[in-house]
């Protein structure tokens, strides 16, 4: 089965940061975006917004970098997960992640990242503007392909 992926739609995101707060409340039991696994990035004027979290890369740099082999791939969800029993808090994964999605909890001395909430991401559920989705990759691209096809439809639809 093709595992689902978490995708963000920058056109829909309003930058309300509900996803950030929800994530920190769920996992850290406090409201603090610094403890969130997802972060809303913006540039200058807030018309460019994008929630960023772990991409669960196929060729994950954090997984390859971990000297303790504490990072592995969940077979069911396809997500990259941390085994805290093995983790020594060396921060190698923290430096290796090209997306800045791996974060480090200084108090507990361990990294943390998105774990897709075991298949039911809270950020997706709580987003009031449906800017986040957790879908089959095909289901995400199909509407785009359909939209593309619609724009091409007219010239091909002429009578012969």
């Amino acid at each position: 089965m093709n595992p689902k992926v978490l995708v963000a739609d920058p056109k829909k995101c309003t930058g309300c940061r509900l996803c950030e707060v929800a994530c920190s409340v769920k996992y850290a039991r406090v409201s603090n975006p610094a403890r969130s696994r997802i972060r809303v990035m913006n540039w200058g004027n807030a018309d460019r917004l994008l929630p960023v979290s772990c991409q669960h890369c196929e060729d994950a740099p954090c997984l390859k970098a971990c000297p303790q082999e504490a990072i592995s791939r969940d077979a069911g969800l396809g997500s990259v997960v941390i085994d805290y029993a093995r983790c020594v808090g060396c921060r190698t994964c923290f430096y290796a992640c090209p997306f800045g999605a791996m974060q480090f909890d200084g108090e507990r001395g361990r990294p943390f990242k998105c774990n897709l909430c075991d298949g039911e991401p809270l950020c997706v559920e709580i987003c009031a503007d449906n800017a986040l989705a957790f879908k089959d990759p095909a289901a995400i691209q199909y509407p785009r392909a359909r939209e593309m096809a619609r724009t091409l439809k007219r010239p091909f639809n002429r009578k012969i």
Binding site: T14, V21, S31, N32, N45, A46, D47
Partner: protein, 508 residues
């Protein structure tokens, strides 16, 4: 707990900054946001001082639920004496600043005095720094925000800034945030400019503890299905980055482009206020609004008197024209542009119309009072999303709001207590205005609207249905219920009953 935040007293004369926790009993009395802010403004501003004098106090407040799941991007409340009206004003600035302030450890900033040179304030995890900002003088809002972020080396800083209009003390200058959202009118930018604060920047990574995390999440999710899609705080959606006014309709026939509107906002002015001033006040129709905005912001040529605001400009120039009956609608428009906080003006159309079904005014004072209190309670909570608004009636559900407060903060406040706190805020606004009032009276818009039907946005048929005698009786009843006397003045015994009687002695 989510209530464990501080008040910072910033004296710009001496650059002394003092922080103190928000007293526990204030949560019950004033809740937070607009409530605490209004009390602080009453307590710390110099009675009778000019709005642009160092004695005026600017309070920047975050609501009790700002930064929680209930309202992660709540509006920031800015409370001060307005240079436009001379009365207390509460302006709401949408965007992430209030929440960031709470994550930085502060609920309220009380700014007094005046800096010698332009400065910016940097708020970060329990500390506040006053930084010299002479190099930012004359910069537009966007450039100021970018410069502050660059200077402090943090692109995620939440910034509030004023443009040249605020620096030049234009009486309706705005305070604008990094995302282009602004306080609209009321002249908050001029007050900040008078204190020589060019910008405030904030970054916080402190925890706001949530009392019942699981229940809060469940409560938020349960509300999602019933909250209309338009309810969540829209930090920004349109590409022009100007979302504080619906400009498209009113400016569609002008030679304005998103870029020119953006530049007007960059001066620290509300484009719609510029249009109003340039057209209706200066007379004629200004096609080049950007040039008008530049003149107003820099106080050049005719812009210098326009920068004084509609009523002052009219009084200074040609008051006699406004006394002509044909000009009365204009005068009302001017008045409605410059309403003090605590004035029932915005509720006038609703107030004046009899109930459609029964065609009577029975119950109207109660309904209007509920509306006034709801607005204030939402500003105290810093929440315009899900905690209180009933999606069916659009009215505030006090029980739902009380439940959201309990789950987030652990504070057990009953519906009646919330209502009383909102009423306390309303009474304090009235009190402040009574203290400042030298002539005239509040709720003047009620009087105006009784004379000119077109200005209360009603059809002629609806206007004809108004029973003026009954309406006046209803207004009197409304005042009586609230504890104002016939001259709309809040009484001493009302303040004593509300536990803020000590403020009465500040009236000279």
């Amino acid at each position: 707990m989510a209530v464990n935040r501080k008040i910072a007293f910033i004296d710009l004369d001496t650059r002394h900054i003092e922080t103190t926790p928000v007293p526990d009993d204030w949560r019950q009395k004033f809740i937070g946001g607009r409530g605490v802010g209004t009390y602080l403004a009453c307590k710390h501003s110099q009675p009778g001082c000019d709005a642009l004098a160092p004695g005026n106090t600017m309070v920047i407040s975050a609501g009790l639920l700002a930064g929680t799941l209930s309202s992660p991007s709540a509006a920031t409340c800015l409370i001060t004496k307005s240079p436009l009206t001379g009365f207390l004003e509460c302006a709401l600035l949408p965007g992430p600043f209030a929440a960031e302030m709470r994550w930085a450890g502060f609920d309220h900033l009380v700014i007094t005095g005046c800096a010698e040179q332009p400065v910016s304030l940097f708020i970060h995890n329990g500390s506040i720094k006053v930084i010299a900002a002479g190099n930012l003088k004359g910069y537009g809002v966007a450039r100021t925000c970018a410069s502050v972020r660059k200077a402090l080396g943090d692109q995620d800083l939440k910034v509030l800034a004023i443009g040249p209009a605020g620096e030049n003390l234009v009486r309706f200058a705005t305070i604008t945030n990094h995302a282009g959202r602004a306080t609209g009118r009321t002249g908050m930018g001029a007050v900040l400019g008078s204190k020589r604060i060019k910008a405030l920047s904030c970054r916080g990574t402190l925890d706001v503890e949530i009392k019942f995390p699981e229940q809060v999440i469940a409560h938020r999710l349960s509300g999602k299905s019933v909250i209309p899609e338009t309810q969540p705080a829209r930090v920004n959606r349109d590409n022009s980055a100007i979302a504080f006014r619906d400009l498209s309709a009113s400016m569609a026939d002008r030679e304005t482009t998103p870029e020119s509107i953006h530049r007007m906002a960059d001066y620290g002015l509300d484009p719609q206020a510029v249009m109003f001033m340039a057209d209706r006040v200066a007379g004629g129709r200004a096609d080049d609004l950007l040039a008008a905005a530049e003149q107003i912001a820099l106080r050049e040529g005719p812009g210098d008197t326009l920068a004084e605001g509609a009523v002052r400009h009219s009084v200074n120039t040609d008051l006699e024209n406004f006394k002509h009956p044909d000009s009365l609608p204009d005068l009302i428009s001017l008045y409605r542009e410059e309403l003090p906080a605590g004035d029932v003006g915005p509720g006038v159309p609703f107030f004046a119309a009899p109930d459609r079904r029964v065609r009577s005014y029975r119950g109207k004072p109660g309904t209007v009072a509920h509306r006034e209190l709801s607005d204030r309670l939402l500003d105290c909570l810093g929440d315009r999303t899900c905690a209180g608004i009933c999606p069916v009636t659009g009215r505030l559900d006090m029980a739902r709001a009380a439940e959201m407060i309990r789950l987030n903060t652990g504070l057990e406040l009953k519906s009646g207590e919330l209502q009383k706190s909102a009423y306390r805020c309303y009474a304090l606004e009235r009190f402040y205005n009574l203290r400042e009032e030298k002539s005239g009276r509040l709720d003047g818009s009620l009087e105006f609207c009784l004379d000119v039907p077109g200005e209360i946005k009603m059809s002629r048929e609806a206007w004809d249905r108004i029973d003026l005698k009954a309406f006046r009786r209803t207004v009197a009843q409304y005042y009586r219920q609230n504890g104002w006397d016939r001259k709309t003045i809040v009484k001493k015994k009302v303040l004593e009953r509300l536990g803020v009687g000590e403020l009465w002695k500040t009236i000279k």
